[in-house]
């Protein structure tokens, strides 16, 4: 298999990949839950703490200025990475979940009324369901779900009938974290705008793995997490169209998000700081900025091409295993680097434990998508997910592990 990425060189950038687990070389197939980090990201955060740490936007002293320049520099690079018109549209949050909650809490409370509809898909992650359910309960709005089929493909004819003047916002993941299905987000955005609804893209899976251009998509909000794209935990992004963010009330109140405060009230700071109350995750933002540089240097089209190759190989190899049922798209052109399956009557937790004994890390369970699992008639599933450092040899190790599990369960 030829790869569009120099995977051997990439692997040398990730110190953790040298680890052994249960005395076997680590095969890390759980990047959809959280990716590993290249040394440049770890070093950048370490270097920041060793040389330039101080609070941002506060002092006039050298360290504070350096910290602020690093923090705001990261914001600019992240803005460019998703082709934001302005870095003022890039709000730092803790993660994609917090980004979605921010929109539901501020835009949602200010704009949704009783009887308004929030349109999601059946394959959303809990993080793009629960904040909307909470909002709907509070304001009397209704959450509806666009059906997906067994491969996770969106029922676009249902989309047309469900989109009405009542629809105020559509929330959709650019890639399903369970099935890997790549969603037609440009088309959904266009149609949603046709009825005057806004569109929030949950990019937690999409942004790390697919080229993402907010202007080309035409969406109104994009939420993503740093830790799934070579960055640290504790940092995420909400991108939003400037005029929407300007009109939205703040999320959390406190320092940094204000222009002036009196005992009677306060005036809000300008974007993006209006939404960044309190001391932010400075080191983590810097780390995410470096992660974005790292991915940009590889090129997101090359990242996608590599993952397309490895998922195509994985789907072929997995299909050879007797008793294995693959879930999600057959077509690697419409599927990210996520292979989800069940094997015989072996419970996914047993399978994951057996594979762990072979040094192989996979995810087992409902992957924070209980409604989708119920719809597919599953209690749980096993998920192997790939990234820039994944090798076809690791797929082979997974297959060997599956046969070992079958022999233990004698099937």
């Amino acid at each position: 298999m030829t790869s569009t990425l120099d995977v051997a060189k990439i692997r040398a950038d990730f110190p953790i990949l040298n680890r052994r687990v249960h005395d076997k070389p680590l095969v890390f197939l759980d990047s959809a839950a959280s990716s590993q980090k290249p040394a440049v990201v770890i070093d950048a955060m370490d270097h920041y703490y060793r040389t330039s740490h101080a609070n941002v936007h506060r002092g006039v002293h050298t360290l504070s200025e350096e910290a602020t320049a690093l923090y705001e520099g990261a914001r600019r690079r992240i803005g460019k990475f998703i082709n934001a018109r302005s870095s003022r549209e890039v709000i730092f949050t803790r993660n994609a979940t917090e980004s979605i909650n921010l929109v539901a809490f501020t835009w949602g409370r200010a704009n949704l009324r009783s009887g308004d509809e929030i349109l999601l898909t059946e394959s959303e992650h809990h993080s793009n369901i629960v904040p909307w359910q909470m909002l709907a309960k509070e304001v009397g709005a209704i959450v509806r779900y666009i059906p997906v089929d067994a491969q996770g493909y969106l029922d676009t004819s249902a989309l047309d009938s469900m989109l009405t003047v009542k629809t105020k916002i559509v929330g959709i993941a650019s890639m399903s974290n369970v099935l890997g299905t790549i969603m037609p987000i440009e088309e959904v955005t266009q149609r949603a705008h046709g009825v005057g609804a806004l569109v929030l893209i949950d990019g937690a899976q999409g942004v790390p793995h697919l080229p993402t251009d907010v202007q080309a998509i035409g969406c109104d909000f994009l939420a993503f997490s740093g830790h799934k794209m070579c960055g640290p935990t504790g940092i995420g992004v909400l991108w939003g169209r400037r005029e929407l963010l300007e009109a939205m009330p703040p999320f959390l109140g406190g320092g940094d998000m204000i222009r002036t405060v009196t005992y009677e009230g306060a005036e809000w700071n300008e974007l993006p700081w209006k939404f960044e109350a309190g001391t932010p995750a400075i080191a983590e933002s810097i780390g995410l900025g470096v992660a974005v540089d790292y991915l940009s240097a590889l090129g997101m089209p090359a990242v996608r091409a590599h993952e397309r190759e490895i998922i195509a190989y994985a789907l072929d190899r997995l299909a050879e295993v007797p008793g294995l049922t693959l879930i999600g798209p057959d077509d690697p052109d419409r599927r990210g680097g996520v292979a989800t399956f069940t094997l015989d009557d072996i419970h996914p937790h047993d399978l994951a434990a057996i594979l762990d004994g072979e040094g192989i890390a996979i995810r087992a369970g409902h992957h924070c998508a209980m409604p989708l699992h119920r719809k597919l008639g599953l209690m749980a599933s096993s998920r192997a997910s790939f990234y820039i450092y994944s090798l076809p040899e690791e797929v082979d190790r997974l297959i060997e592990g599956l046969y070992k599990a079958k022999s233990i369960f004698k099937r």
Binding site: H349, D350, A353, I354, D356, E358, H366, M370, M379, I408
Partner: protein, 131 residues
Amino acid sequence: MEDLYRDQIIDHYQNPRNHGTLEHPDISYEEDNPVCGDHIRIDLKVDNGIVTDARFAGHGCSISQASASMLTEDIIGKSLEVVRQIGKEHVLEMLGIPLGPVRMKCALLALKVLKAGAYGLQGWPGDEEEE
């Protein structure tokens, strides 16, 4: 790893003893492990303070289901008083395998359900025993 999946556990998982529900149980209790979605229900028939019949139903990994199967076998014929005294060491001894903290929850779910039922409580106040 072979240690974790002794033949006896696989046997209880694939051929569960006392599987199902009782029509008129004297005690019935069920609970989930929210972390992994394992679910166990245990029904007991009790006569003069003695467990005369037991059934379990549910779904989950081999550890959770095998421990339920073994427990139901173990308690039939014992007094409720004895059942109430069963500790986690007893279950782990029956399973006979070393378990990490996550799988420990799987192993002890059946005991948690059994004791909550035996004590007649809606929530068994022995959460620390899971750790």
